[in-house]
């Protein structure tokens, strides 16, 4: 029984990190008033870039940077098409997601990739703690970034001038514009952060979780990460809780099938994170105060 709990905890932390990294980036972007459907594409590009980079250079560390760069490229396109050239951000998001699914699938079949897997690193004393020890302190080392990244995001969004400007752009772009804040620039920058975080998340997925890239391996994880931000009510703590909860739902579905628990049929367990995200949106998300200018296009010349 304890072993079962350990397995579920361990895999929910592992899968939760995928959502967490991407959701933290999307949190910044949504505070600036943008929604990036292309987060899915950024995540997938990151997974592919990570695997390709690690395979070409032979070093997982460089692979991670390649993944972050791949996510950044997609976010660069998203940001400049929708917040410089005023194309609708959702349509751009759909287009970029489709493009990255197509490109990664095509290149994956054309290029041979042998990426290594990131090593497991158990922190000496802490990993001995019963139940939570292995889950938290015996991860593949990229997973430990999850202890640092939330503080970093918190610091830049809530403790810097830049962060204040980003939040003001998300609340009232016209007022921000009048007071001299470059609205579209801040939005673009926040999307770059989302892209790099999603790229990191993708690299974590392909280099640490599975150890190999496979076709369309993100499979809606980016969408669930967006849902985690909405679920968290556009607060940092809520976003973290949301992503870990969806990770738990994902892990629960997988582990229960492995353990052999078959009261709930497999297909239902497989759709757990999506179902939970939907239920979460229906119940909790609506109580929150969202950035007032969320999903609102801003044209400084209007």
């Amino acid at each position: 029984m304890i072993e079962d709990i350990e397995i579920i905890l361990e895999s929910s932390i592992r899968l939760g990190h995928i959502f967490l990294f991407a959701a933290l980036g999307e949190y910044v972007a949504e505070r600036a008033g943008t929604i990036n459907i292309s987060l899915e594409g950024m995540l997938l590009a990151g997974a592919f870039g990570g695997a390709l980079g690690a395979s070409e250079t032979g070093s997982p560390v460089l692979g991670i940077f390649a993944g972050i760069a791949a996510g950044f490229i997609i976010s660069y396109l998203q940001a400049n098409l929708s917040h410089r050239l005023n194309i609708d951000q959702f349509v751009v998001g759909i287009a970029l997601t489709v493009l990255s699914i197509g490109l990664t699938t095509f290149l994956f079949l054309e290029i041979k990739i042998y990426s290594g897997r990131i090593h497991e690193f158990a922190i000496p004393v802490l990993s001995e703690i019963p139940i939570i020890g292995t889950a938290l302190f015996a991860q593949r080392w990229l997973g430990y970034v999850a202890f640092v990244l939330p503080f970093f995001i918190w610091a830049i969004v809530h403790r810097t001038r830049w962060g204040l400007e980003v939040r003001s752009v998300g609340e009232d772009p016209s007022a921000a514009n009048v007071s001299g804040i470059p609205v579209l620039k801040r939005r673009r920058q926040s999307i770059y952060i989302a892209g790099m975080c999603a790229g990191l998340s993708g690299a974590y997925l392909s280099l640490a979780v599975t150890g190999a890239f496979s076709q369309n391996m993100s499979a809606g994880k980016g969408v669930v990460a967006i849902a985690a931000v909405l679920f968290g009510g556009w607060t940092l703590f809520g976003t973290i809780c949301g992503s870990l909860l969806f990770g738990f739902a994902d892990a629960l579905g997988l582990s229960l099938q492995i353990i052999g628990f078959n009261v709930i049929p497999g297909p239902v367990l497989d759709s757990m994170p999506y179902l939970l995200a939907l239920i979460g949106l229906l119940t909790i998300a609506n109580m929150a105060k969202k950035p007032a200018a969320l999903a609102e296009n801003f044209d400084p010349s209007d």
Binding site: N86, I87, V224, L230, L278, L281, E296
Partner: protein
Amino acid sequence: MSTLAENSNRRNDTISKLFGFFDDSNKLLFSVLLIACLAGGLFISGLLVAAVGGSPTKVLSSLIEGSFQTPGAFGRTLIEAVPLLLVSVGVIVSFKAGHYNIGTEGQVAIGALFATVVALQTPGPGWLVATLAVVAGFAGGAFWSGIAVAAYLWRRVDVMISTLLLTFIAPNVVLFAVSKDYLLLDTTDSNTRLASQSERIPSEKRLMEFEVFGQEIHLGFVAAIIISLLVTALLGKSVWGLRVRLLGSNFLTAKRYGVTQHREGATALLISGGFSGLAGGMIVMGSAFRLQNHIANDFGWDGLLSAIVARLSGYLALISSVFFAALRTGSSFLAATGVSRTITSVIQGLMVIAALMPAALLVVIYRSDSGKRIFKSGKKGELE
């Protein structure tokens, strides 16, 4: 909720900007840009093929060969185009109403499920069962989008996110149905592996097939064309269409005229989901003949893209859906060229980006100094 109203007002202003022509004087410039961008997209695809060591001309010729030239290929392409067209029309209706129904893939799957249930369980004359099954497909798609509609009306959950999440749930629902013997699992002797699939639909219950100019097509093709023309005409010319477009283009004006999310918004989304479901029904009754969990097979996504490439025009969707169908059927001929058939998904993605680029390029042109001089009457020129 006033912010919500303003939000969707702003948001929809950009939809009309994106998909409409800026103003009449620049239609020519716009069309030239559009054609140049589409050609550029194809050119980049060619570069990519060359980069992986393939021959772009061979790829192009085998795509054309596989989709139009070999015997019966054109008919196959048209049959593939049927679900794409229906999905596109649905997407157009919802986008025009200002809602992003992008969960078409899931609605296609659920529509196929409903159609299969009716087709396998209903006794009666073949043509009647086929009709009922296709209608049930419509109901299935409308039901699946109805969940998103209910979530939106009840708790203002963003339609875009909820339909997407539902898309990832739908294949699991279908898988559940076809993996249980008390539901749809095929337990007849022919299915020795007990693969997760339903029984085959008996041939008398399928959509009627006929031959035109040596190409085999089925009745769904005719129905799809009539439906799409009808809906496009209704959307453009009828009072209902005006109200839907009003909802999409100016929320506050719509409110003044008594157009509400509860009536017009919900109807548009239900119709949109229904058409995706109808497409699913057509797939089962017209070409797949049995239900599997991958029944939607990207038809939903491709239909969505085809609507965007058609720039939300129902008439252009007729062309773009045939183009996307040709990519699907042509891709099976790519094996001989040594280039992976997934190049077609890259082409699709690039085409969608290309369809969006003219609007962006116009912004660039208007903002540039020479652009301001030439288009002094233009919107951006007024800044001076």
